[in-house]
């Protein structure tokens, strides 16, 4: 149920992007701040491995983090 809501929210938000002027249409030359290392989703590769490792052994949910992407607009 929650998953459905979340997915619907994701799809709706993305559809709105066409409507809201300029949301989601960022110029390549304006991406300086997005290019900063602090703006990536993963950051330190080993940090999260250890932490997710621990959570997986103490809780019953693991995974879902998937792959990163987006960012500086560098080709």
């Amino acid at each position: 149920m929650n998953r459905t809501i979340l997915s619907l929210l994701a799809i709706t938000t993305l559809s709105w992007l066409g409507g809201c002027s300029n949301l989601g249409q960022v110029n390549a030359w304006d991406k300086g701040n997005l290019a900063k290392p602090m703006m990536t989703f993963e950051g330190d590769p080993l940090d999260q491995r250890f932490v997710q490792h621990i959570y997986a052994s103490k809780e019953n949910s693991s995974g879902g983090y998937g792959v990163g992407g987006g960012g500086c607009g560098c080709n």
Binding site: N27, A28, G32, A35, C72, C74
Partner: protein
């Protein structure tokens, strides 16, 4: 005919979605610019009669770091034959650009466009983007990104623009 339809459809869609117009295309006149440089103003009109390799770069753009040594090389080799490499920096803070230039020197003309007017007029889609402009002021090539394996091809296009044998 098909091409016109495709172009019109894309333009219509782009307008509808509010996207910037198509990136500058070959054959079009290269839009002029008048920007502050390191020593004096840098204007496209100053380069009339020369072949211009225009490069949009920023301190935060990874591939840009790799392209500078190559652009220096191109300027050195073909400068006498009429090539002018012009790097247009789009950093919002010029200090960042200057720090980059200290580590990665540019032996070609550099202009600063903090407001982003020039990349907008050229409607560039990614960083870096380079535009090759012929002596007549027309766009000959638009290239996105910079990878080692592109060097040979880019150099060939530069030579072609200046009517040099390969």
């Amino acid at each position: 005919m098909k091409k016109i339809y495709a172009r019109t459809a894309t333009l219509a869609l782009a307008t509808l979605l509010g996207l910037p117009a198509l990136a500058i295309e070959t054959g079009q006149a290269a839009p002029d610019f008048d920007l502050a440089g390191r020593l004096a103003a840098v204007k496209l009109s100053d380069y009339k009669g020369k072949t211009v390799y225009l490069d949009f770069w920023a301190s935060w753009c990874g591939p840009c770091k790799q392209s500078f040594p190559w652009m220096n090389d191109m300027q050195t080799r073909y400068g006498a034959k009429g090539l002018r490499v012009v790097g247009i920096n789009v950093d919002q803070k010029t200090d960042d650009a200057k720090a980059f230039l200290t580590d990665t020197p540019a032996r070609f003309d550099v202009a600063f466009d903090q407001a982003g007017k020039t990349p907008r007029s050229y409607a560039i889609k990614g960083m870096p983007t380079s535009v090759l402009i012929g002596p007549d002021g027309k766009v000959l090539m638009v290239h996105s990104g910079f990878k080692d394996e592109h060097r040979a091809d880019l150099e060939r296009q530069i030579k072609q623009a200046m009517n040099l044998k390969d």
